[in-house]
């Protein structure tokens, strides 16, 4: 460490620091803070009572319920898949591993609209199983199963991409030791692997949940937009906004903003408490 009066070679001059920090803060304020602030200001434009009334309207409550149900199915499903995939990929050697990881990441490169479209082409009236479903009076598109399927697709990689590198870093020696002393597979998983990956799992679940509750494009294609029935919260925001009910739209949006803020706080707390789960880059 150089003496305090000497600048280290990797230190930038004070004016450069101030300039960079100033530009960054101004840019982030314009791009990120302003939209966030706008949501709450617009929601409270006619007072708190109007905003609360908009959120407690029956259609809004139905949207909240549908969003919670969808996330309650999609997130555990993807968490279970992520654990399964990470166990197979990180704890074993096989050919084509890199390809398999790329395929699991694939949904992140697909437009949400295309994610909705593919299920319409399969389960829609003119789709592969269209007639079969009509004969049995089953509805997937414009109903809950379609919404869940589209949500599972767009959030598919979150938990897996968090767990695979984490479990690869941890290696296999602890599991091999447990197995060599006679532990079964499931016992080894619960007692040896699970405690090592639980923070990474929580991190993945957190990001997966935020996206599941906030997904718009994919769900919009398969939902049918039936008020009170197949409208999730983001879709309800769109309907209210297009009906010029701005206070209502921004009040429901503010609720989703709170979800985002809580997600970011929990994520930051996790990163501070468990530095090794950070920096794998979510979406």
């Amino acid at each position: 460490m150089a003496a305090a009066s000497h600048r280290r070679a990797t230190d930038d001059p004070a004016w450069a620091k101030a300039l960079v920090i100033g530009i960054v803060l101004a840019f982030l304020a314009l791009v990120l803070v302003l939209p966030l602030a706008a949501v709450f200001v617009e929601a409270l434009r006619k007072g708190l009572d109007a905003a609360v009334a908009a959120v407690r309207a029956p259609d809004a409550l139905a949207a909240v319920r549908l969003t919670l149900i969808t996330a309650a199915i999609a997130v555990p499903f993807n968490a279970a898949f992520g654990l399964c995939a990470a166990w197979a990929i990180a704890k074993h050697d096989f050919k084509g591993k890199a390809l398999l990881i790329t395929l699991i990441d694939l949904p992140f490169s697909v437009s949400p609209v295309v994610a909705g479209l593919i299920y319409v082409l399969i389960f829609g009236l003119q789709g592969w199983f269209g007639d079969w479903l009509v004969e049995r009076d089953l509805k997937i598109i414009f109903a809950l199963p379609g919404i869940v399927l589209a949500t599972v697709f767009v959030t598919f990689p979150f938990v897996a991409r968090e767990l695979i590198p984490l479990m690869q870093e941890q290696g296999t020696s602890e599991e091999e030791a447990a197995v060599s002393m006679g532990a079964g597979g499931l016992y080894t998983f619960w007692r040896v692997t699970a405690p090592n990956v639980r923070w990474g799992l929580m991190y993945g679940v957190l990001l997966c949940n935020a996206r599941a509750m906030g997904e718009f494009g994919a769900v919009s294609v398969v939902s049918g937009h039936i008020r009170g029935l197949t409208n999730t919260m983001p879709l309800h925001v769109e309907i209210l906004y297009n009906e010029y009910d701005f206070v209502g739209a921004f009040a429901v949006a503010a609720l989703l903003c709170l979800l985002a803020v809580v997600t970011l706080i929990l994520k930051t707390a996790l990163e501070v408490a468990q530095p090794h789960v950070r920096g794998r880059g979510g979406h």
Partner: protein, 291 residues
Amino acid sequence: MTTADAASGPAAPPPARRPFLRRRSAIPGFGLTMGVTLSVLSLIVLIPLAAVVLKAAHQSPAEFWAVATSRRAMAAYRLTFGAAFVAAAINSVFGVLTAWALVRYDFPGKTIVNALVDLPFALPTAVAGIALATLYAPTGWVGQFLTPLGIKAAYNPVGVTIALTFIGLPFVVRAIEPVLRDAAEDVEEAAASLGATRLDTILRIVLPALAPAWLTGFAMAFARGVGEYGSVIFIAGNMPYKSEIAPLLIIIQLEQFEYARAATIAVVMLTVSFTMLLIINAVQAWARRFD
């Protein structure tokens, strides 16, 4: 999985041959977890994606080409790819500055700034969409200052670019940050001790080392921007030939029950996305060669 099991079964070839799919491992559960992984991946992702390609293939090549390159579709691609490119370029500049400030400098509120960078990952896109549309409308907080300057932001390609800038920022910051954190500062010290100015060191030592991460972040922001829908449609205005993005065109075709046309545009977009994915993988493989 089954191949490996069969290889160790009674009908297996001589033991000298190694199992096809995996090397021996003491850890159990490979067959089960691999089976579940491949089945779920196929049912949720691969087979449905194949459906869209098959649907598009129902048409003759001439029909496919006519729909894929129609005037309206071409205008939509131009807007989508152009706006995504400009937004990714803007984010490349401000993203590297943000990553630099977060890694190299200390300033009050750094934890909050760090958390805030991920806001576009956590905030539902529709919420971002209506917020940006309200801000940049001619009477909005920001729009009112742009109107006298003759800049029409909302309901215009400029608005699309603004929305995609919001969506893409964290990709660039989070791609560059870990590389910058791991970068060896002694190289910079060596450059300085050999007489390089600080600016020289940054331009000729630091930034070239960041290039692969930078490209990755750019490509990820671009790829996300190309597919983005929720944050764009509220601010775009959605005028055919002018401010209509390609994902919206898919939805419009779908609402008119033109499934083959919707699938055609989807196939074009998937082709571009997968090309981007290959480029990202290639850049990362290329960067690893220098580790």
